[in-house]
């Protein structure tokens, strides 16, 4: 019995280690070597469209609503202390430091990450990746690399847009609806938000999350069992693994950035 358990643990450990190894090799192969800008830039733009522009709608809508909800909930608590003037900092700091990067990453994993996994898994299942390899075109460089860079570029931009829209949403509810003074909303925000400490740390967070999400999505697709069942499992795994990894890393990054 114990031997069986041990064997199972060992098997799983070895599996995950080799998974990490394959994921590392994939990234290594995709990013190493001199970039070919003549061919690479059009591919990158195409992927920025697929990964970035197509995710914009969900980011705009959820950013707006999360900003509005924050303002509504924050107001009901702050008004008890007569501190509704602090609504601006509450909304902006929660968005910039935490909700912006994290919610963007979670939405991104659901919207773009799952699509990437499915796309690459399908390309693998229909032998498109093998075919490309046999045509002496490296699929890591041709398929993986532009998607990776597009994701790493697009996600911080999406997070910035999410933050801005969220703060405007907070303004909408706090100022237009609940009647907080517009001047104090913005000035209290300006007095409490720091460009480096808050805005740029948020951007750094979302760059880290982008690396994690896009890496997991690409690897799960590239490593998928090339059957329809395998692809659907890989897609689910991408969303679950990427979301958990984002939340875990968020704690680590928050402790490093704001904990000290």
């Amino acid at each position: 019995m114990i031997a069986n358990r041990l064997q199972k643990i060992g098997h799983q450990t070895l599996n995950s280690v080799s998974g990490f190894g394959r994921a590392g090799l994939m990234l290594f192969g995709a990013l190493l070597g001199k970039p070919d800008f003549r061919r690479g830039i059009p591919l990158l733009i195409k992927q920025l469209y697929v990964i970035g522009v197509l995710s914009l709608m969900i980011i705009l809508v959820s950013g707006l609503f999360i900003g509005m909800v924050l303002a509504l909930q924050g107001y009901t608590v702050l008004v008890k202390f007569g501190a509704e003037g602090m609504l601006g900092p509450l909304v902006s700091l929660s968005l910039l430091r935490e909700l912006g990067p994290v919610v963007t990453a979670l939405l991104f994993a659901g919207r773009a990450g799952s699509a990437l996994t499915a796309e690459i898994g399908l390309m693998k299942a229909t032998e498109q990746l093998s075919g490309m390899e046999m045509m002496a075109v490296d699929p890591l460089r041709r398929i993986i690399a532009p998607r990776f860079w597009a994701g790493v570029i697009a996600m911080p931009l999406l997070a910035l847009i999410f933050n801005a829209v969220g703060i405007l949403g907070g303004h909408l509810v706090g100022v237009e609806w609940l009647g907080v003074d517009a001047g104090s909303y913005w000035s209290a925000m300006q007095a409490n938000v720091d460009l480096y400490q808050d805005v740029l740390n948020g951007v750094i967070k979302s760059i880290v999350f982008a690396l994690i999400v896009i890496w997991i999505a690409l690897h799960k697709g590239f490593d998928a069992v090339p059957t329809s069942e395998g692809i659907s499992r890989a897609t689910t795994q991408t969303v679950v693994t990427a979301s958990l990894a984002v939340l875990g890393f968020d704690f680590v990054l928050t402790a490093l950035m704001f904990g000290g």
């Binding site: 920025l48 970035g52 697009a154 910035l160 829209v165 913005w186 938000v193 460009l195 805005v199």
Partner: protein, 154 residues
């Protein structure tokens, strides 16, 4: 979907993101890109700084002219020394000026209020690295209440 349309949409996406960043930097955050402007440093020694923090504002009549850049304890007197980074645009404070640690509102943040002193022929202007001698420490609420009770007892 033509390549041209995709490029236009991607361009719009990037512009939107830049606009969002500019809004966050200029309208939401306090410094903007002001970190690059010229500053000079003054020092002030207090008995007690209360809840003053690095990056707390330095205000003259309510106008922010600088920030606290550093707080440390003097090794000899064991009293806190605060470094003030003052915008170089406001460079003519006389050495008779005084600083006080004030609180904005009852529960608000603490900041340093700088009160410019009188000027006559014998008074020099404060320059980079000078120390402001006339300081008033933060009011600590507990001490205040304690004093009040003590006085009543008398």
């Amino acid at each position: 979907m033509t390549a041209r349309k995709i490029e236009i949409l991607v361009g719009a996406f990037i512009v939107l993101a830049c606009a969002a960043f500019l809004m966050l930097a200029l309208k939401v955050a306090n410094t903007g890109f002001g970190g690059s402007s010229q500053t000079y440093t003054l020092y002030a020694q207090f008995d007690n700084i209360g809840g003053l923090k690095v990056r707390s504002p330095v205000k003259v009549g309510g106008v922010t002219v600088g920030r606290v850049s550093n707080i440390e304890l003097d090794r000899v007197s064991y009293s806190p020394v605060v470094s003030l980074e003052i915008n170089a645009d406001y460079s003519n404070f006389p050495e008779t000026s005084s600083v006080a640690i004030l609180t904005s509102g009852l529960l608000g943040e603490q900041y340093i209020g700088l009160l410019p002193g009188f000027v006559d022929d014998t008074v020099l202007m404060l320059g980079n690295g000078d120390t402001i001698e006339d300081t008033r420490s933060a009011i600590v609420l507990e001490e205040l209440i304690g004093q009040f009770l003590f006085n009543r007892g008398n």
